[in-house]
């Protein structure tokens, strides 16, 4: 690695930290400063102003926002995630129960989606214009246009209602057998794969198509290279940056999909926890959950940037 490369990677890291700071500011001030009163909400509409004021003081909501932000952010560093206003339990407890479930779901989906989407995108690019390419491209544009809950609904209808093969909910009793677990994952994972694959296929194919229009691919063609060689040996190595970027983007889209899917299948994950938090306006819970999600997102983007830097021979040596 050259000095320049290390400097660029260092810059990415710095940018990521700065971004995390900006995001934390945004999350905190949006949830705290927009109209809508947590204390009022907690006690319901009927309470007196006094009762609300007392509660507000207990929660520390009467202190200046900047101080509360500092408390919160230093709390995060110490691992003190605050106290859920609704369930009266530490946020860290709630999250540690749910986070692994979401991670498993996301990991399985990514393990299937990334190779599948890259493979299909690359094959479509190799045989550009063929029936296979057109079928893949049409399917991709269809699934990009369908909302996740629609894909979920259709899959539930197919597997649970008509075929009666799978349970409609993914609730897992502790004693569940391996088969039950696998069956429970099939539908949520399928939905996520469909919704995140299509965008990645489109972007991969587009990135390779761009590289295919360059003079060096034309020269390779004039050397007698076959289509697979043109794509795999000449276009692909130069499309790493845009492709990795599209993977990161699709994975960030996957987070959105997880929110819908966990709700549809009542899956006990972090996203479901956050949606419930929004319903009950449980601010400490929402703040922590969104910071976790944003942290994951920034990590993805940073990884993509670093891979892109490392894939460029001008920077490598």
């Amino acid at each position: 690695m050259t000095k320049r490369t290390s400097a660029m990677i260092g810059e990415r890291l710095a940018v990521a930290v700065l971004s995390l700071f900006l995001v934390s500011l945004a999350v905190f001030f949006i949830t705290e400063l927009l109209p809508g009163d947590t204390a009022q909400e907690l006690l319901g509409q009927a309470v007196t102003k006094e009762a609300a004021a007392i509660l507000r003081e207990q929660l520390g909501l009467d202190r200046p926002a900047v101080l509360r932000y500092m408390d919160w952010i230093f709390g995060l560093f110490r691992g003190d995630l605050g106290f859920s206003l609704v369930s009266n339990r530490p946020v860290s407890d709630l999250i540690s129960e749910r986070l692994p479930n979401s991670l498993i779901l996301a990991a399985i989906t990514m393990a299937i989606t990334i190779p599948l989407a890259l493979g299909l995108g690359i094959i479509a690019a190799i045989w550009r214009g063929s029936i296979f390419d057109r079928a893949i491209s049409s399917a991709a544009i269809m699934f990009v246009s369908f909302p996740e809950f629609m894909i979920a609904t259709l899959i539930v209808m197919l597997f649970s209602v008509y075929l009666k093969w799978l349970p409609a909910l993914s609730f897992l009793p502790p004693s569940a057998s391996f088969t039950t677990i696998v069956l429970a994952f099939i539908m949520p994972v399928t939905v996520l794969v469909f919704s995140s694959c299509s965008q990645m296929i489109r972007l991969t194919r587009a990135a390779i198509s761009d590289a295919m229009a360059t003079p060096y691919v034309e020269l390779a063609l004039l050397k007698g290279a076959s289509r697979p060689r043109l794509v795999l040996r000449h276009a692909l190595p130069n499309s790493v940056a845009p492709i990795v970027n599209s993977v990161a983007l699709s994975m960030s889209g996957l987070l959105g999909g997880v929110i819908i899917v966990e709700t549809v299948f009542n899956y006990p994950g972090l996203a479901k926890l956050m949606v419930d938090g929004v319903m009950t306006r449980d601010m400490p819970l929402i703040q922590t959950c969104s910071m976790i999600f944003c942290g994951f997102y920034l990590l993805l983007i940073m990884a993509a940037d670093i891979i892109a830097i490392l894939s460029n021979p001008r920077l490598r040596r």
């Binding site: 809508g36 369908f146 889209g253």
Partner: protein
């Protein structure tokens, strides 16, 4: 190819693909439904008109009835108004803010551009739904908050797209010629840069509209979008989701409406002339 000097002046023509024409018709159909929704209603939207919940399609209830026995057809028509109306309002706001800031950043450059781009880049890729949840958690769910959330979530993308297009144009010699003449930043923004990038920007806004519609219906599906008794298409799916076990049209029909609008717009933009499409993605 250089051409003879006596070439007659001709308008640039494009081949209109049949698929694009069909898609345009579908989009126009839904726009008209949304614009004139009250004229198409057969029953008031909130009224329970039948004792038969999840009723079948019939001459009285063209698309059947929902879980409370309300007329799905009428709710679908009004739903179009909510879905398209809110999404469009958000698009206009986000588009205006994004395009104006993007042009300013490209024309002025310097520190202004650097700071704005850095700040906006942070938010541009964060999952839409996540940001929306945070905003709704803070502001509650009402139509103004929804529009505000859409604006806040989508203007960074518009900004980035406009800026990158404008920066490309800004590097061309005719801009240098204008600058060397002593033209001001605003003249260059509006008269020299903007006319060259409106096409791609409009196409990009079209794609963003699809994303907005999908986000909005996702929110409504979670119960955080349009609130009862009114419903957009996403909310219609949510409220009827229990009917899924009967395979009720109440769940499928709003899904199909959404899919047809989103797909038609996506395909329409996908089949635009190459010159505009080249700039997308």
């Amino acid at each position: 190819m250089t051409s003879a000097s006596i070439k007659p002046r001709r308008k640039v023509r494009f081949r209109v693909k049949p698929l694009a024409a069909i898609c345009l018709l579908v989009v126009l159909f839904w726009v008209i439904v949304a614009l004139f929704a009250p004229f198409f209603l057969r029953y008031p939207v909130g009224d329970l008109v039948s004792y038969d919940y999840f009723g079948p399609m019939s001459a009285d209830y063209w698309l059947g009835t929902d879980y409370l026995g309300r007329d799905i057809y009428s709710r679908l028509v009004m739903g179009a108004r909510y879905t398209i109306g809110i999404a469009f309002a958000g698009l206009i706001l986000a588009g205006t803010i994004g395009v104006v800031l993007g042009l300013l950043a490209a024309a002025f450059g310097g520190l202004f551009d650097t700071l704005l781009s850095r700040a906006i880049d942070t938010f541009v890729g964060i999952p839409n739904l996540l940001l929306a949840l945070v905003i709704i958690a803070g502001g509650g769910s009402s139509i103004p908050v929804l529009i505000g959330a859409i604006t806040a979530i989508f203007f960074p993308g518009c900004y980035r797209f406009t800026r990158s297009m404008a920066v490309n144009v800004n590097a061309l010699d005719f801009i240098s010629a204008a600058r060397a003449r002593g033209e001001g930043h605003f003249y260059i923004m509006i008269h020299e840069i903007l006319p060259n990038i409106v096409g791609p920007i409009l196409a990009d806004l079209g794609l963003r509209f699809v994303h907005i519609v999908l986000l909005l219906s996702g929110l409504s599906f979670l119960g955080l979008g349009v609130q009862p008794p009114y419903a957009d298409w996403g909310a219609m799916v949510r409220e009827n989701i229990i009917g899924i076990s009967y395979g009720a049209p109440a769940v499928i029909i709003p899904c199909l409406a959404l899919a047809s609008l989103a797909l038609a717009l996506n395909l329409l933009i996908d089949n635009l002339p190459q010159r505009i499409r080249d700039h997308l993605e």
